[in-house]
């Protein structure tokens, strides 16, 4: 039986409370008679059965706000928390005095609709080994991060945290480097062909126009 968009009859109202008495009681405190028939943003479905699980979808604006707040908290944790810093950059524990070999940044956070799973996109600046060490360190501390997040943020259920490596910044940087090189080659070749000043200036301006268009086509994941 699912709650459809109709005013509640006595039967539908009794059923959620009936399962709290009988079932395992894992998430039954969430089985409030939520008014899905009045509020179209909030959709809920309940399944009465062996393991009565609840899936509540928060509205989109709240999901965005939670994602932004999680990003702030995680970035702050990366800066201040000693455990995380040693996981990401092992030589910090030896007292490297902030001379970094790699720099880790949280480039984006995606939260699922029911606020249960969080995908954290991490971008690491540094060489290949530093990147592997940083990502492996973060993945090993996923449970610790989850408990810290629960301590810092007031959420009903702390979401599961998954770390994913984000290569979009690196890719964008490579593309821009290629574009710069092409522009320079074009300029130098045009400089060799035409030996006067005015045509050179106009070709530079054309090159800049092309560069700007291609730059704007690149989308960085925020």
């Amino acid at each position: 039986m699912s709650l459809s968009r109709s005013p509640p009859s006595p039967l539908t109202l009794v059923a959620p409370f009936a399962t709290t008495a009988g079932g395992n009681g894992r998430r039954h405190q969430l089985l409030l008679p939520n008014r899905s028939w009045t509020n179209p943003n909030l959709a809920a479905s309940t399944r009465v059965g062996g393991g009565a699980s609840v899936r509540c979808m928060a509205n989109q604006r709240r999901v965005k706000m939670v994602a932004k707040q999680i990003q702030r908290e995680l970035s702050d944790m990366l800066l201040t928390d000693k455990v995380l810093q040693y996981a990401v950059l092992p030589e910090a524990s030896l007292g490297a005095d902030r001379y970094l070999s790699s720099l880790t940044t949280i480039s984006g956070v995606e939260v699922s609709g029911d606020l249960q799973v969080v995908k954290v996109y991490v971008s690491v600046f540094g060489d290949e080994r530093g990147r592997e060490v940083a990502i492996a360190g973060l993945k090993s501390k996923a449970k610790y991060v989850r408990s810290e997040l629960g301590r810092r943020m007031k959420l009903r259920l702390t979401p599961e945290v998954r770390f994913i490596e984000d290569e979009s910044l690196e890719r964008g940087s490579r593309v821009l480097a290629i574009l710069d090189r092409l522009k320079e080659e074009k300029l130098s070749s045009e400089g060799k062909d035409v030996k006067q000043l005015e045509p050179l200036n106009s070709s530079e301006q054309d090159g800049d126009g092309d560069m700007d268009d291609e730059d704007e086509g690149i989308i960085y994941i925020k």
């Binding site: 800066l79 902030r98 480039s107 943020m153 910044l169 940087s173 925020k222």
Partner: protein, 138 residues
């Protein structure tokens, strides 16, 4: 507040200021302050006297777009443009704050041909001093 010691007789000459051109700095420091909403890139010499600066806001971005990594990279390129002409080859980068500008500005600096000697993180860390602002409620 500059670190220069003012000469006593210099007030009569008008403005006290360093000359715009003529300072050759082969090695400098690039400070990147990356907050969530903006990125400020400042180029200074080794002692800390500022040569030029640029931010995502001055590079033509407004509002929420200032916080994006592309804006941070545009700011870094703007700030470096002045100094590359003056012949800076090596630089040390000091990064402050969380934010997407950290990564993007670093990549832009490396791409521009300046040699990065060190990357340091100088985010101010209190030894439990002032009370931080209250927690945001979501």
């Amino acid at each position: 507040m500059t670190k220069a010691i003012p000469r006593i007789g210099s007030r009569r000459n008008g403005r006290i200021g360093s000359r715009k051109t003529g300072r050759r700095i082969p090695k400098g420091i690039i400070h990147v302050q990356a907050s969530f909403n903006n990125t400020i890139v400042t180029v200074s010499d080794v002692r800390g006297r500022v040569v030029s600066w640029a931010s995502a806001g001055t590079s033509g971005f407004k509002g929420t777009r200032r916080g994006t990594p592309y804006a941070a990279q545009a700011a870094a390129l703007d700030a470096i443009r002045t100094v590359v002409g003056q012949g800076m080859q090596r630089a040390e980068v000091m990064i402050k704050g969380p934010g997407l500008g950290r990564d993007a500005a670093l990549r832009a600096i490396r791409r521009s041909g300046i040699l990065l000697s060190f990357v340091r993180d100088v985010t101010p860390m209190p030894h439990n001093g002032c009370r931080p602002p209250k927690k945001r409620r979501v």
